[in-house]
């Protein structure tokens, strides 16, 4: 799956994209693939505060539970309620319909310091090489 060039990425495998001052956050295709079939997504409610680098939710798959880390700080304006009934959306469309939260960023400039698509792809290519060697 292609990694959208307008998105920014973290080494913990979250993506973030900002539109009209509101950021959308999700986990990457690589992350969903590593997790396997997602059965439950725990997300903060609207109004919750996100702090860069701190965990704000978790994704539970048939194999494990993984924490999700905030790529930037801000206030949650919406959580993706569709994931409550259809958590598998995260596997099927991780960069689109499988988004997790929408956040009003407290410092939008933070996003610029994250990895771009090319850097993230290089990062996971390195990881895959490590895993196969």
């Amino acid at each position: 799956m292609a990694y959208p060039t307008e998105y920014r990425y973290t080494k913990e495998h979250e993506w973030i994209v900002v539109k009209d001052g509101i950021a959308t956050i999700g986990i990457t295709d690589y992350a969903q693939h590593e997790l396997g079939d997602v059965v439950f997504v725990e997300m903060p409610a609207a109004g919750a505060k996100l702090t860069t680098g701190k965990t704000f939710g978790s994704v539970e798959s048939v194999k494990a539970v993984s924490e999700i880390y905030a790529p930037a700080s801000g206030d949650v304006v919406e959580a993706n309620a569709a994931l409550n009934d259809k958590p598998e959306t995260l596997n099927n469309d991780p960069h689109g319909a499988g988004w997790l939260v929408k956040v009003k960023l407290s410092n939008p400039a933070e996003v610029n310091s994250l990895l771009d698509a090319a850097a993230y792809e290089a990062f996971i290519a390195e990881k895959q090489k490590e895993a196969s060697s």
Binding site: F40, E42, S58, E60, A64, V65, E67
Partner: protein, 448 residues
């Protein structure tokens, strides 16, 4: 359970098989300094007749022939030898946590049936495979409510078992949970006015027990409404499970924390007990403890397996819903066998006997001059009476007549100085109740 001794020849055979010369060589990786070089400090072996003699002597130390009117969280009920016979089967007695479903179907099915029975009794959707006891179940229920609501204030009725409240306070002490108590009315039930004035939107749980510590039945509907109106959850503790044979299941509660000792466990030494948490489907991911689920295998045959294990500490580590991973599987099995033997009608009949015998005992005690009923709320198998003199003094006289007297309420409620909590179960005969009444009368007539 079988004990399999090993002969020196068998030891040598095992050593040969793994390629070491001696047991000392086998343990050579343990540093010299940490090896025990003297025999364990244990008494020497006994022959079979000596062992039998030893245990007969210990058994003879038991006091026999006493009648008890003591309840207060531990209840004497009829039990069947069938329960013990099944508990003592090695497959159950020595089984380990059933992580491997393929070799644990019997244990898993028993747990699943326990959960099913607990759901049927409590009117809840999902029940766990047991907790330590009613007190830890109550506390874990509060912690669950804290996780679900994100709030940290707890309102607990003073009519909840004093020891359950102690356990809750112990947990709360270093966890930032604020526990406040709500008093009781002249009827012996939770003070609704006090609750309303203490309820604000920072409360995670309202904790009430029914029947409460005074034996009184609480009206859960209005309490649930009040709790929900302020965004709190209603936690209902049940110390006497047999009450569910005649009482409406506490379906209004968001979380039920129950003690299951009344189902097939003797009150010996005050344990072992088994607690259980039951709740609504939508709260299951915040539920502590083990859960067995029903599923189908590749060929479509029914099977059982531990489920939602990602809540538990062996996977979730410090983020687990609880870090007590021990459950009381054998005690839960006792409850399963006991309730299955009793059946729906049997449990109802047992409960009705408790109800009518306790009411008979109260009526008889009230005939004694100076003995007054304290609370007016409907009760199950326990009730509070006030004596014209100290309960301790009365109990000392009763003990001389081989009667274990009622619970001294003043020990937990300083304001209830001359009040006794009397328990009567189906095991108490009419003759025993009459003996109690006569003995109390004599005790009260004694010159001071």
């Amino acid at each position: 359970m079988r004990y399999l001794p090993k002969s020196p020849a068998e030891r040598q055979e095992m050593l040969d098989a793994i390629g070491v010369k001696s047991v000392d060589e086998l343990f050579s990786t343990i540093p010299e300094a940490y090896r025990l070089k003297k025999p364990l400090n244990l008494p020497g072996p006994l022959s079979e007749p000596e062992i039998i003699e030893y245990f007969q002597a210990r058994a003879a130390e038991n006091s026999l022939g006493y009648t008890s009117f003591l309840g207060a969280g531990v209840y004497n009920h009829l039990r069947s030898v069938i329960t013990d016979t099944i508990l003592q089967r090695g497959e159950f007695l020595t089984s380990y946590t059933p992580y491997q479903a393929e070799i644990s179907q019997g244990t898993l099915q028993a747990i699943f049936e326990f959960q099913t029975l607990m759901c049927q009794l409590t009117g809840q959707d999902v029940a766990n495979a047991s907790m330590y006891d009613g007190s830890t179940a109550t506390t874990e229920a509060v912690l669950m409510a804290e996780r679900l609501t994100g709030k940290r204030r707890v309102l607990v009725a003073r009519s909840v078992h004093p020891e359950y409240r102690e356990v809750l306070k112990t947990y709360a002490k270093n966890s930032g949970l604020r526990v406040e108590e709500i008093g009781y009315t002249a009827a012996g039930s939770l003070d609704a006015k006090g609750l309303h004035s203490a309820l604000r939107d920072d409360v995670c749980a309202v904790v009430v027990q029914s029947p409460n510590f005074f034996g009184a039945m609480e009206s859960l509907g209005p309490l649930a409404e009040a709790a929900h109106a302020s965004g709190a959850l209603l936690v209902t503790a049940i110390a006497e499970g047999v009450s569910l044979g005649v009482m409406k299941p506490p379906a209004e509660a968001d979380i039920v924390a129950m003690e299951s000792q009344s189902f097939g466990l003797a009150p010996s030494y005050g344990g072992p007990f088994a607690g259980v948490i039951a709740s609504k489907d939508k709260f299951v991911r915040q539920m502590p403890g083990r859960l067995a689920g029903q599923t189908v295998d590749l060929d479509g045959r029914r099977g059982f397996v531990l489920t939602l294990a990602t809540r538990e500490q062996h996977i979730r580590r410090e983020k687990a819903t609880s870090n007590i991973c021990t459950n009381q599987a054998l005690c839960a099995l006792a409850a399963t066998v006991h309730l299955t033997l009793l059946g729906k009608e049997g449990l109802r009949e047992m409960a009705e006997q408790n109800l009518s015998k306790a009411h008979f005992a109260l009526a008889e005690l009230q005939k004694i001059l100076g003995v007054k009923r304290t609370f007016s709320a409907p009760f199950f198998n326990e009730f509070v009476v006030e004596f014209p003199r100290s309960v301790k003094m009365v109990n000392a006289e009763l003990l001389k007549e081989k009667i274990v007297g009622p619970f001294v309420l003043g020990s937990a409620y300083p304001e209830l100085t001359k009040h006794a909590l009397v328990c009567v179960t189906e095991t108490t005969t009419r003759a025993e109740i009459e003996r109690l009444v006569a003995a109390v009368k004599r005790a009260l007539e004694q010159p001071l």
